[in-house]
């Protein structure tokens, strides 16, 4: 009676029975079979590496960038809600001469809100972007997020020229961001 392949595999993994170990030491046929098993495994390890037929990095990168944009937008919406709430509180306070730029400020805020709505209509998360577009989008969103941070801090200065200027910068960046999506949508016929 010879060792089964199960016995030989177990012996190789250091788990074989005492009987199998003793038998292999004495049986030339089982030693040869064990050697063939070792050879097969060595040949499997030596098989040439199979390489991916296509580059998948672009698809991975696009998904990563889209996910980061989603997280940023969530943060942005939170920041805007806080800014709006603070702004609303300040409007209720008597402000006197500081309201010199009040109309300009209201106009910039309204334009910014309209652009936010336009941007949402493009639902960029579910669509494919090129690497360049994704880069540009990420940069613009970073700049907007940074501006929002400053706006949150300065929103108490209702009617100041500095605040109006920051909101103008925000509108400008939002216009660029919307333009990226408009261009891409035209290109892919969406």
């Amino acid at each position: 009676m010879h060792c089964t392949i199960e016995d030989l595999v177990a012996l190789r993994d250091g788990e074989g029975s005492v009987w199998a170990r003793r038998h292999v030491e004495e049986c030339a046929a089982c030693q040869a079979e064990r050697e063939r098993l070792y050879q097969r495994v060595a040949q499997l390890k030596a098989l040439p590496a199979l390489r991916p037929p296509r580059d998948r990095w672009t698809a991975i990168r696009d998904q990563v960038v889209a996910e980061r944009s989603r997280v940023r937008r969530r943060w942005l919406r939170g920041s805007l809600a806080i800014a709006a709430a603070l702004g609303g509180l300040m409007i209720l306070r008597p402000t006197g001469p500081k309201l010199a730029y009040g109309d300009d400020l209201a106009q910039e805020k309204q334009q910014s809100a309209q652009l936010e709505t336009a941007l949402r209509n493009y639902d960029s998360d579910s669509r494919v972007m090129s690497g360049r577009e994704a880069d540009l989008t990420a940069q613009l969103e970073d700049q907007i997020a940074s501006l929002d941070g400053r706006l949150t801090q300065l929103d108490s200065l209702q009617g100041s020229a500095q605040l109006v200027d920051l909101w103008r910068q925000r509108v400008d960046l939002m216009q660029q961001l919307v333009q990226v999506h408009v261009t891409r949508a035209k290109y892919v016929g969406l």
Binding site: I5, L8, A10, R40
Partner: protein
């Protein structure tokens, strides 16, 4: 398969901070071994490509959790094996696999004997291929394989023995 899989620590640190260029460099370093592992297990190259993509999305998501214990390739390989086996399970191929294996007591008449090892390996069921590749080539233990497959250790061991028995038959010279 001999590939250099060492990655500089500085690259790992940059990848952990979310640097896309560093993450791409990691992808370039590991795309072939990950694809190779997946392709040896999965039925089609498309499935293996999907495993490659899912593996790296997981790497990007989880790299901050990599503590630098052991080689980075070992960590990536664990993810790749899990994704490949998850794909096998999600496609519910196990049931048909087992039928194929049960029927493999002797090679069907249409299957040539005396073929080369790579072709013989491809003729194994996906479950058998997964066990042989992960255990004999990648160095996973039966416990690790069983856990990822949702099966028992003895299932993994018996799959390995049966796979080798079948390989032996397929590689035997044809008898006229």
């Amino acid at each position: 398969m001999t590939l250099s899989l060492s990655v500089p620590d500085i690259l790992v640190a940059r990848a952990k901070s979310g640097d896309l260029d560093a993450l791409e460099a990691l992808y370039r370093a590991f795309e072939t071994p990950v694809y190779n592992l997946a392709r040896r297990i999965c039925r089609t190259s498309e499935d293996a490509e999907d495993v490659l993509q899912e593996t790296f999305l997981e790497v990007v998501k989880s790299i901050r959790q990599y503590r630098g214990e052991g080689h980075l390739w070992g960590w990536v390989r664990q993810i790749a094996a899990s994704k490949a086996l998850m794909r096998l399970r999600s496609e519910k191929l196990r049931a048909t696999d087992e039928l194929v294996d049960e029927a493999a007591g002797s090679p069907p008449a249409s299957v040539a004997v005396g073929i080369d090892l790579e072709r013989a390996f491809e003729q194994l069921s996906e479950t058998s291929r997964a066990v042989v590749w992960l255990h004999d080539v990648e160095g996973f233990t039966h416990e690790e394989i069983a856990e990822r497959m949702g099966r028992t250790v003895s299932f993994s061991k018996s799959q390995l023995a049966r796979a080798h028995a079948r390989l032996k038959r397929l590689l035997s010279p044809a008898v006229d």
